[in-house]
């Protein structure tokens, strides 16, 4: 187990390196640079040359990349080329906690909704409850979150005036409700489907029939025999669900004008703010890889039949 964990942690290094390399290549392959934002305020070539020299963009690309990786390993991610008085780490340090809080809340909410819903819907298969939750699961996975958010804002903010339509206000509760719920819907719908399918499979197993035949109470059968086995596959999809929530934050933050990392993400690519692009992709890749790793390790612990170390 320890060996496996260490090996997986070491595998993170090449993965992150490849992510950085691909991002760097794509960002620099694109035409345009960080200094030609505005047609009307075109800088003269000598100014651009000076700026390039100051930020090290005049060096050959492989050298730039090598330098970036070297500095990044020492915790120096450079200065943002858009907000030139701010370090990339400072900007991310301000914005990331907001996105992360939103994401963590959404995942917790998604788990809290989807597992009971999936379990109930499997136990009451082919009833009204089941088809209701299936409809929720289908709609939630297929309709984009920003489309759902539009309807939610129209109903709950514009007409009923229950929640504010936008803003963050330092994470005040009324501003939190709608973004969190909408971010959670997609992954909770997905998790509901998985929970239901996995419960249905577990219910039909022989050991469940045996437990019933022994005369165990239905609750005991469901909780200790069905649920424990059915939830294992559910844990495995928490990794992809994390990735789903992270990408979902861009849209939710955009719609609700939340000052998280999503805003910087798109803008930094459009503005060719290379240090920001690289740092943000590195952060996302790291979070997703760590989520997947945690899930894989948890999987091994939960199910002794799975041998993680190949």
């Amino acid at each position: 187990m320890l060996k496996y964990t260490i090996r997986r942690l070491l595998l993170l290094i090449p993965t992150l390196f490849v992510v950085l390399l691909v991002t760097f290549a794509l960002a620099h392959a694109a035409p345009g640079g960080p200094w030609d934002k505005d047609e009307s305020k075109k800088q003269t070539q000598s100014i651009i040359n000076n700026l390039n020299a100051k930020y090290g963009l005049d060096k050959p690309l492989p050298e730039q990349f090598g330098l970036y990786v070297w500095n990044a390993m020492h915790g120096d991610f450079g200065v943002s080329l858009t907000y030139r008085d701010r370090l990339v780490t400072d900007i991310i340090g301000d914005a990331w906690p907001i996105s992360a809080r939103l994401g963590v809340q959404a995942i917790l909410l998604a788990v809290a909704i989807s597992i009971p819903l999936g379990v109930i819907s499997a136990l009451k298969q082919n009833t009204l409850v089941d088809s209701g939750s299936l409809l929720f699961a289908t709609a939630g996975t297929s309709i984009p979150s920003f489309v759902l958010a539009i309807f939610a804002i129209y109903i709950f903010s514009v007409n009923l005036r229950w929640f504010p339509a936008s803003g963050w206000a330092g994470g005040d509760l009324s501003h939190l409700v709608m973004p969190t719920v909408l971010l959670a819907i997609g992954s909770s719908a997905f998790l509901t489907r998985i929970t239901r399918a996995s419960m249905l499979e577990a219910i039909r197993q022989d050991y469940v029939r045996t437990a019933r035949a022994k005369g165990l109470k239905e609750q005991v059968v469901v909780v200790t025999h069905v649920l424990r086995n059915a939830l294992i596959p559910v844990v495995t999809v928490l990794g992809p669900a994390t990735a789903f929530v992270i990408t979902g934050t861009f849209f939710i933050e955009y719609i609700f004008s939340i000052p998280g990392l999503g805003r910087f993400f798109i803008n930094s690519i459009l503005a060719r703010d290379y240090p920001m692009i690289l740092a943000i992709y590195l952060l996302f890749a790291l979070v997703i890889s760590v989520a997947n790793l945690t899930v894989d390790l948890a999987y091994g612990l939960l199910d002794p039949r799975i041998k993680v170390s190949r």
Partner: protein
């Protein structure tokens, strides 16, 4: 009891049991036809497809135009009109005409106009074109690229297989949307991004991100089929690798491939709508539902219909494709469950 036809009677007389020949595919089609949600989805999709085709169709002398106006024409309040041109991005301000249920409605524009006087109904109809094209074209590309490489990797193994697996590792380290976003946002302002209002670049970006999944699926299928008796039989009568791949391996791995393609269609529509909504997908003035939401969002609280109408179209199409995909999966492989 049903009446017996003459031929069946004859067969009975001859003591032969007749049964209409049924292929696997016919059984699947029957199962699909019995699935109400899937059929409803199919009809919704057909409806949108017809609107997309006939929004403005010219074939020789024939000219069918369902959309009342050109979606890029501006109808100014002073009676002037102008077409084309690049009025980029969102503008605040009220629409020049509200939809028919609102005050200040204009009978010429059933669903109203946007802030710069373009007919919403026409824009919605032309947007259906983008969604249908973006739904189907990239999926065919995934199938051609991913299917070929998957077949080769599964059948031959070796370096093709290794290369595929390494490539998969890279693509899997990126969440789909992150890779799509960086490709779209960086290449959008080049000449490639200008072809067909950005559609062409979307095809390429979607194919780069998604062919790997198809290749892995086909590879897995081929690996499990490769050692089956019927393949061995084909090989023993002298069938070459190409014949084995196209005549035996591909048809037998088709069911999961079709299911995967059916689910890829709404995902591609999802991606286009999402990226256009963020302003890095289809290029204005070309209309798409995502672009319309992006442009209408600044005046959302004032004129919600400008955003709600395209949002409803996206929701409807996505649901329809998902129901159809679910139905296809249940019909083609009743064992596959999710």
């Amino acid at each position: 009891m049903a009446t017996i036809t003459a031929s069946q009677q004859r067969a009975l007389d001859m003591n032969v049991i007749t049964r209409k020949q049924r292929s696997l595919w016919m059984d699947a089609a029957d199962r699909l036809r019995r699935n109400k949600a899937a059929m409803a989805g199919l009809f919704v999709i057909l409806g949108f497809a017809l609107v997309a085709i006939f929004a403005d169709l010219r074939v020789g002398p024939l000219h069918i135009q369902l959309a009342p106006y050109d979606p890029t024409c501006y109808f100014y309040l002073n009676g002037h009109t102008a077409c084309g041109g690049d009025v980029v991005g969102a503008r605040s301000g009220p629409p020049t005409a509200n939809p028919f249920w609102g005050a200040n409605a204009d009978p010429r524009f059933l669903l109203g106009t946007d802030q710069i006087g373009r007919d919403i109904l026409s824009r919605l109809m032309f947007s259906a074109r983008i969604s249908m094209v973006i739904g189907f074209v990239p999926v065919v590309l995934y199938f051609l690229i991913g299917g070929t490489i998957g077949l080769a990797a599964g059948y031959y193994g070796g370096w093709i297989d290794n290369l595929l697996m390494r490539f998969t590792d890279i693509v899997y380290a990126f969440p789909d949307l992150l890779l799509l976003i960086i490709i779209m946002a960086t290449i959008r302002n080049t000449w490639i991004g200008d072809i067909m209002g950005g559609l062409f670049l979307m095809f390429i970006a979607l194919s780069i991100v998604n062919w790997v999944g198809m290749a892995r699926l086909v590879r897995g299928q081929v690996l499990s089929l490769r050692e089956k008796e019927f393949v061995e039989a084909a090989r023993s009568i002298g069938a070459g690798p190409v014949r084995i791949m196209t005549r035996h391996l591909l048809p037998n791995s088709l069911a999961p491939v079709i299911v995967s393609m059916a689910f890829s269609v709404p995902l591609a529509i999802f991606a286009e709508a999402s990226l256009s909504f963020l302003g890095i997908g289809i290029k204005p003035p070309t209309p798409s539902w995502g672009v319309m939401i992006n442009e209408g969002f600044v005046v959302f609280t004032g004129t919600p219909s400008m955003v709600l109408l395209p949002a409803a179209c996206i929701a409807l199409v996505m649901l329809a494709f998902t129901f159809l995909g679910d139905g296809l999966r249940d019909a083609l492989d009743p064992r596959m469950k999710l």
